[in-house]
């Protein structure tokens, strides 16, 4: 009798917590869906072929946002090109080579702290180092470097997790065959970790595309109809363009549809990046399964 009632109590409890978990999953999905729907609903009207392929006209109240799209693509690709190799090699050093001790722990804490630093701080750092001290000026290179540093902690963290997830037995099997440590990492460990590294890096990539503060002083132009011809040119960028239209323009209300259109394009761009990463990941995973 007592047993039965305690069983019932347990089922009740289990049902309650399961319901709670389900509810929170539902809330999150609904919030995300609502957000996307809101952006889509408001932004879709502005989207046209011209919007995507033409530069802004009439003090940015008309025309398209092509230079900003291009600028964001350049900046994001640049940031990835800088942060991915650097982040992966740092992670390899930290997990595979460095003797696990106080020094490595300090480095790890530092990396984690870096991930929590507000992005405007990176913007000022980039301004000080790349724009002023190294005299790159406000340009794609400075912006990409700043964004690269911004997303570096994310990529290091993701890569470390992925590398640690590779079974130690793979390393042992390879080393026991008289294969050098570097070859083992390059041929066995990295390929096995790659899906994880890419998954984790998606977050960083999305962040690089969407950040405003780091590029405000280092790369982004208020307006330029001229397309960049080298990495030393200033560019427009989607997040900064949205910021400008929504706060600094003279026709804030009138450009609402363009603002939403730009937001939609930015979100779409980030989703495309994610999708590409997911596809790469799943093809690698299909090839290497264990």
């Amino acid at each position: 009798m007592a047993l039965q009632s305690s069983m019932r109590w347990r089922y009740l409890k289990e049902g309650f917590f399961f319901g709670l978990v389900r509810l929170s999953a539902f809330v999150i999905t609904a919030a995300l869906g609502g957000l996307l729907f809101y952006i889509f609903f408001n932004g879709l009207g502005a989207i046209s072929w011209g919007f995507l392929t033409l530069p802004p006209t009439d003090s940015m109240t008309k025309g398209g946002i092509m230079p900003a799209i291009l600028g964001t693509v350049y900046l994001t690709l640049g940031a990835i090109a800088i942060a991915l190799p650097l982040g992966i090699t740092s992670a390899i050093y930290l997990t595979e080579y460095a003797r696990q001790g106080p020094l490595v722990r300090v480095i790890r804490i530092g990396v984690n702290c870096l991930a929590g630093v507000p992005s405007i701080v990176f913007g000022l750092f980039g301004l000080g180092l790349f724009v002023v001290f190294l005299q790159f000026g406000s340009c794609i290179l400075s912006g990409a470097l700043t964004l690269g540093i911004l997303i570096l902690p994310t990529i290091i963290g993701a890569s470390e997790e992925a590398l640690k997830g590779v079974p130690q037995t793979f390393r042992e099997a390879s080393l026991a065959l008289g294969v050098s440590k570097w070859q083992t990492i390059y041929r066995i460990v990295l390929p096995s970790a790659m899906p994880g590294i890419l998954t984790g890096s998606i977050l960083g990539i999305g962040r690089a595309a969407g950040e405003t503060a780091p590029i405000m002083f280092t790369a982004a132009a208020f307006f330029t109809a001229k397309l960049p011809s080298s990495i030393f040119d200033e560019v427009m960028a989607l997040p900064f363009h949205i910021y400008v239209l929504a706060t600094a323009g003279t026709h804030i209300e009138a450009t609402r549809p363009i603002q939403f259109g730009t937001v939609l394009v930015l979100v779409g761009l980030v989703l495309v990046v994610d999708l590409v990463a997911i596809i790469i990941r799943s093809t690698i995973r299909k090839r290497k399964r264990w």
């Binding site: 003797r99 696990q100 079974p167 037995t169 793979f170 390393r171 042992e172 099997a173 390879s174 080393l175 026991a176 065959l177 008289g178 294969v179 050098s180 070859q183 041929r187 066995i188 096995s192 290497k288 399964r289 264990w290």
Partner: protein, 253 residues
């Protein structure tokens, strides 16, 4: 130098940090013989085995005292390259650990990175190694398939074939049959008997019958010490030390 003792350890102590896992091990391993290492769990058998091809280097904070001579040279000399040692002293692990690659790539991975690139030679080597490991007939039509699809016993024989493909002089085996069914076990034991004509084999096992069946010499370990080491037949019929007898007859405790 007419010496058939390929590996000799001299007064070896081994430490994991402050913990001494092996004490004063002096032991010779003979060429073209099977040597079995037996003893209760945690007595240091795997530690000793991994010491012989410097696999313990991978663990932070370990320390070796004494000498491990391979063909007369101390493999722990600073100028010795552990990679070179591992090429000549192969290892098969307790749990089958194939790479998540095709069967063919598993076998050819080592030789390829050692510089062999000719496709025909690689194919011949793969066939030869797989035949040696008595796996060829089962996999010859599926060489391109992932090694992860094989059964545990097949995977273990693949790992043996992979080690053999490097043409090592010595083969270290750490409980190679502990995860296998009797049929696979019998196949691998037969294989070991065959292999000793070309290789020197050192095998850790918890299976007394197995040690008695396949080995020429047996060493009994207890808490990091080599208690008794002599011909297998002697160890299993009239051991000198009471502890050995107790362990072999199952009266240990």
């Amino acid at each position: 130098m007419e010496d058939n003792r390929v590996i000799k350890t001299k007064d070896v102590n081994f430490y994991y940090g402050k913990f001494r896992a092996l004490t004063d091990i002096s032991m010779d391993f003979e060429k073209n013989r099977v040597t079995a290492l037996i003893g209760p769990s945690g007595c240091g058998k795997s530690t000793l085995l991994r010491l012989l091809n410097r696999m313990n280097d991978l663990i932070d904070g370990t320390r070796v005292e004494g000498e491990v001579l391979f063909e007369g040279k101390n493999i722990y000399d600073p100028e010795v390259d552990p990679v070179e040692i591992r090429r000549r002293i192969g290892m098969v692990f307790q749990k089958p650990n194939p790479f998540p690659k095709s069967i063919f790539s598993n076998i050819t991975y080592g030789p390829r990175l050692a510089g062999l690139s000719d496709r025909v030679e690689l194919e011949a080597l793969a066939e030869q190694s797989l035949k040696q490991a008595v796996l060829w007939d089962e996999v010859k039509d599926i060489l391109g398939q992932s090694a992860m699809m094989l059964s545990g016993g097949q995977q273990q024989r693949l790992c043996i074939a992979r080690a053999l493909a490097m043409k090592p002089d010595v083969l270290l085996m750490d409980e190679p049959t502990s995860a296998l069914d009797p049929i696979s076990t019998a196949k691998i034991e037969e294989l070991i008997q065959d292999l000793k004509r070309q290789y020197t084999i050192i095998i850790v096992t918890h299976n007394m019958q197995q040690a008695a069946r396949i080995s020429d010499k047996t060493g009994f370990f207890y808490i990091g010490k080599l208690i008794e080491y002599s011909a297998t037949e002697k160890i299993f019929t009239r051991p000198d030390v009471k502890q050995t007898e107790d362990y072999i007859t199952g009266r240990f405790g």
